[in-house]
Symmetry: C2
Subunit: 283 residues, 2 copies
């Protein structure tokens, strides 16, 4: 990153959830000014107003670019959920409409494809698309055991199998999450997301479809191999720990440096309280 | 198969569902006598009594073997669900108790491993474990389009991707089913089973988490590569078609010769009525 760009305010294009604010706080702790470009209808107004910010509409690319230029931004990070937009939340300006064929073409062929096209476009406009992990590296889950609960040998084996599954599924642009229990793959995450998969694992046990002792099995999360890490690194948090506990799992294992955690200290406290380990898989 | 064995009555060890009866009917149509060894609490008594049969308890291996010998059986097929047995449904006889260490060892390491150990044991006792597909080949879904609805090029592409995913996951002993829609993997089946996965796909659309036009996406089923096909070939039926329709899919694609269908004609009629294709993927 050139020193000149580093001095410019960081642009955080900000959807829903608490993740954008965690990234902003981390960058501010590093002494870098931050401007939130908060997407109306998604970003939380109460949180947004605590930061230097601009409101934007989803789909208003031209407006966003002119605001980015006016604020002297160079580095852009896109964070937070933009799930299920309603039509009235989308405002297409002229530039967006001109871009529609490219946007539609990018939407074919999986998330990774779309994200690389987005990065290309941002660069054409003279900006740089960065990953949350680059501006807020303290949000990445490190290698090793995080809390006071240690994974047992059977857990380490489950973690290893889970990591293999995620990596094997990489070419299909799917499966940042998988649950392995006693060497059996219990669930593979696709479009439903991690929370829903963990709910399913809890039900599989309740309904007796999967018979396991309590605290057996590991949730494994890792980025897809070759994934553009600038957008959408997998993440875990306190809720993930709670849902993993409800699913009867022994802990959570992640690819170190490849998975983010919002509220890491709080998450680890909760894991300790519930008796789950959190482990950055040592290779 | 030696001619001598072929003349002996076929032993169908029979759990729940209608699948065992479909296999019995198919063998009988071929002129082969059949004896059902119906597992108490699982096999349906009304259906069982229409056939020459013996009742057995789950877990009573010694008793089963003596019955098999008394009936002059040589070839054994095991079919039907034995899901979630209650303790009072299990009767361990002396032979089973002696076998317990082997059974427990076989239960580690995935379904495939367990099935090969089972086949080994059956052969040691002088019997042969056969697959339902060997004694009832007319239950296998053939290559090509089965009903009157044709898959479109986009569906064929989804089917191909789905088959790749199933084959890639083979080494992990998981995923006989997968849903692919417009080149995106929507869901991967693990311990939850096909029906549950299809319910999830329906919910993913209802909740707007996946946005697709109606009748887009394909359920793909195929045996795991290297799977011992003598037990537990994947299957589809009328219910699968109905659930695929509710999930908004365009059709069902299977590995021809690798997936069984109970009530094939009825299933195809239902698929035609609902506008879904059923397709044995041509390689």
């Amino acid at each position: 990153m050139p020193a000149a760009a580093d001095a410019t305010p960081l642009a955080l294009v900000c959807g829903g959830g608490s993740f954008p604010m965690a990234v902003a706080d981390s960058a501010l702790r590093d002494g870098r000014p931050v401007v939130l470009f908060a997407i109306r209808g998604f970003a939380d107004p109460d949180s947004v107003q605590r930061y230097d910010h601009e409101w934007i509409h989803l789909g208003a690319v031209e407006k966003l670019i002119s605001l980015l230029r006016r604020r002297g931004c160079h580095d852009i990070v896109i964070v937070g959920n933009v799930l299920r937009p309603h039509w009235w939340q989308i405002r297409l300006d002229l530039m967006t409409i001109r871009l529609l064929p490219r946007i539609l073409a990018a939407m074919r062929g999986g998330d990774d494809h779309m994200l690389s096209r987005l990065a290309e476009f941002v660069e054409e406009q003279g900006f740089a698309l960065m990953g949350a992990h680059e501006v807020a590296p303290d949000l990445l889950v490190p290698a090793g055991v995080l809390g006071s609960v240690q994974p047992r040998p059977a857990d380490l084996e489950d973690a290893r199998i889970g990591l293999d599954v995620v990596r094997t599924l990489g070419p299909f642009d799917v499966g940042q999450g998988v649950v392995v229990a006693r060497r059996h793959v219990q669930a593979v995450e696709a479009a439903e997301g991690t929370d829903w998969m963990l709910e399913r694992c809890a039900l599989l046990r309740q309904r007796g479809r999967v018979k396991l002792p309590d605290r057996a099995g590991v949730l494994v999360k890792a980025p897809k191999p070759g994934q553009d890490r600038r957008v959408d690194l997998p993440s875990i948090g306190r809720l993930t720990v709670e849902m993993a506990a409800k699913a009867g799992l022994a802990g959570i294992a992640v690819e170190p440096g490849g998975v983010m955690a919002v509220g890491m200290a709080e998450m680890v406290r909760e894991a300790d309280r519930l008796g789950l380990f959190i482990y950055g898989i040592a290779e």
